[in-house]
Subunit: 337 residues, 2 copies
C-alpha cells in the first residue's frame, strides 16, 4: 500500500514535470521564433509596444520615423536590472570598502566606513548623501580608467546577490532583453541613460545587453590625462563630474546623443524628465514606466521605496499617455534562464 | 585658310576634351570602384593606411581587432574641413553678431563687438580669448537647442566662404570623406572629436560625413531643462560646460566613447594628446596628422599659424610612429566636385 502510494505520487510528479517541461519547451522554441517578445504576456502592454513600433517603422504610415532618428533610451537600475535590496553599485561600494579596509585603518573609527565594516546599516544611512558621496569617491577614484574596469569585472565575476545567489549581471530582466533586441531588429539605436556610474556599467553592458560603451550614458567622476612610463592613462579623480538623474537626464541625452529619443523607458521619478523630454517632442513617441508589482518573483515597490521611488510617474502617466508596465501581469518571466 | 585653321583647332580641342573626359571617366569609374581611396595618390601615406586596416581586420592576423573595438576618432577643423582664413565657427559668430546688432545697440560701442561691426579685426583680436568667449556666449546662448540647430542650418544654407565662394560644408576634404567610408566599410565606428561646438557640428555631420549626432564629440555650453507651453525644451546657457582640446580630448573620448581609438586623426597640436591616448594603447594603432602643405589648392601652414598650429605633432611624429599626410603630395583633389 505504502509502495503503491509512493509510486503513484512519483508518477504524478513525473507527469507534472513533463507537463511543465513541455510548456517551457513550447514557450522557448515555437513562441520565441515567432514572437520577439515571447516573455511578455499577451496583454495590453505588449500590444501597445508592437503597435507603436509598427507605426513608426512602416514607411507608408503618417507616423513613420527615419532610421537615423530611431533613438531609444533606457534607464538601468530597476529598468534593465534589479535594484533591491539596494542599488547594485552601492553593494559594490560596500564590498570595495571591506576589501580596501586593511589599507585604510582609519576607517575602523570613521563613519560611514565604520558602519560598513561593522554591518551597521543604520550608521551608514545616518551619514546621508554626503556619506554616500564620500564612500563613492573613496572607492571609485585614485586608479586609472583601465584599472577601474578590471575592478568592476572582477567583482561581477565573484559577487553574488544576497537573496537570489545570482551574479548581479544575471539579474537583468528577460522581457527587457527581448525589448532591446526587438527595437534593434527594427533599426532603433538603443542607449542606456542611467544615474549609475558610466564606468561601472560599460565593462559589461555589451556582453549582457548588446549595448556598446559609447551608447552608455551615466554619472561620472572627473578624469585627468597623464603619461606614465610612456603610456597615456586617465586617472580617476575624487571629484564628481556629473550626476545623471531627473532634469539632468535630458541634459545628458542632448549632450551625448544629440537627438530626442522616440522611445524612453524608466521605472522611477528619476526618469520623469527623460520621458517628458522624449514624449513632448514632435511626432509619435512612446514613454514607458516599468512598475515593480511582483513581490513573489521580484519585489513590489513604488511610492515609498528609497530605490526606484515612483510617485509622479504613476500619478501623471495617464495624462502624459505613458505606458505603465505591470511586471506581475505583463511579464511571463523575470530573469533569463 | 582661316576656316581650316578654326576647324583644326576645334578638332584638336574636341580630341583633347575627349582625352581628358576619357581619363576622368576612367578615374571615376574603374578606379573608384576598385579603389576606395581614389583621391589619394599612390604614395606611402595611402599604402600605410591600407596596410594598417588590412592588418587589424584580417582575423588570421596577430594584429586583428574585434569589430566592437574598431573605434576611429577624427578632429574636424583642419582635418575634415578647412579652417582658413579662420575657424568657420568664428566666421559664424561674426555673421551672428552682425545680424543680432540691431537688437543689441550697446555693441556699437563695446569691444569686441564694435570691432566685428566695423570690420576692425585688430580690435577683435586685441580682446583675446576673453573677448572670444564673450562673443561665443552672446551668440550661442539664450535659445533652445532646437532653435540653435535651425540657426546653424540657416547660416550654412546661405553663408559663403570669402575666398572660395563655396558653402562651408562643401569645404570638406574629399580624401577624408573616402577615408571615413573606407573605415566604415571595414566595420570601424567613426567619431568626430573636435574643439568646435558640438551643437554647431551636429546639424550637418550626418548629411556631409555620414556621422550621426551621437558620434560627434565637441565643446559645449551648459543647458537647462524647462517646460514651456507643455513642451520640454533645453535652454542654452551663457556658460561654457567643456572645452574639448589638447589633454581634454582623451578625457572626452573616455567620457563619450568609453574605448581607446584604434585610429586617431588630427592636424594640430590640439590633437597631440588624442593621438597619444590612442597610439599608446595596447595592440596595433595608427595616429595620423594631416599636414597643410598645399598653398595652391588649399593653404600651407603649420608652426606659426593661429589656426591648426602644428609643432610637437611634427617634431615628435617620427618617434611616435605617426603618419604625416602631406596634402600637396598625398591628395589628388582637395574638395568634392
Amino acid at each position: 500500500m505504502k509502495t503503491t502510494r509512493k509510486l503513484l505520487l512519483s508518477l504524478t510528479g513525473a507527469i507534472l514535470v513533463m507537463l511543465v517541461a513541455g510548456c517551457a519547451s513550447q514557450q522557448y522554441t515555437a513562441e520565441s521564433v515567432a514572437d520577439p517578445l515571447a516573455s511578455w504576456t499577451d496583454g495590453g502592454a505588449k500590444q501597445r509596444i508592437i503597435t507603436f513600433v509598427n507605426a513608426v517603422t512602416d514607411s507608408s504610415s503618417p507616423d513613420f520615423v527615419a532610421v537615423s532618428k530611431r533613438i531609444a533610451t533606457f534607464d538601468n537600475d530597476g529598468t534593465l536590472w534589479a535594484e533591491k535590496p539596494t542599488y547594485f553599485q552601492l553593494l559594490f561600494i560596500i564590498d570595495r570598502i571591506k576589501s580596501m579596509a586593511a589599507d585604510n585603518p582609519e576607517w575602523k573609527t570613521t563613519q560611514p566606513f565604520q558602519g560598513v565594516l561593522e554591518n551597521d546599516m543604520a550608521a551608514v544611512k545616518a551619514a546621508g548623501e554626503h556619506g554616500l558621496v564620500e564612500m563613492l569617491l573613496a572607492t571609485h577614484a585614485g586608479m586609472t580608467t583601465d584599472e577601474f574596469a578590471e575592478i568592476v569585472n572582477d567583482w561581477l565575476a565573484t559577487a553574488r546577490h544576497p537573496s537570489t545567489g545570482k551574479a548581479y549581471n544575471q539579474m537583468v530582466y528577460q522581457p527587457m532583453l527581448e525589448l532591446l533586441d526587438y527595437l534593434r531588429a527594427n533599426d532603433f539605436k538603443v542607449f542606456i541613460v542611467s544615474g549609475g556610474g558610466v564606468e561601472f556599467m560599460r565593462p559589461w553592458t555589451e556582453a549582457v545587453y548588446g549595448i556598446p560603451p559609447d551608447q552608455v550614458v551615466g554619472s561620472s567622476v572627473e578624469t585627468k590625462f597623464e603619461i606614465r612610463a610612456g603610456k597615456a592613462v586617465l586617472m580617476r579623480q575624487p571629484k564628481i563630474h556629473f550626476i545623471d538623474d531627473k532634469a539632468t537626464k535630458p541634459v545628458a541625452i542632448n549632450r551625448f546623443i544629440g537627438q530626442r529619443p522616440v522611445i524612453a523607458v524608466g521605472n522611477s521619478d528619476g526618469d520623469f524628465e527623460m520621458l517628458q523630454w522624449s514624449t513632448t517632442g514632435s511626432g509619435k513617441r512612446l514613454g514607458i514606466m516599468i512598475h515593480h508589482t511582483d513581490s513573489v518573483r521580484e519585489w513590489a515597490y513604488d511610492r515609498n521605496s528609497s530605490e526606484g521611488r515612483l510617485v509622479r510617474g504613476l500619478d501623471e502617466a495617464s495624462e502624459n499617455n505613458w505606458l505603465i508596465v505591470d511586471m506581475a501581469e505583463d511579464w511571463r518571466v523575470i530573469y533569463p534562464n
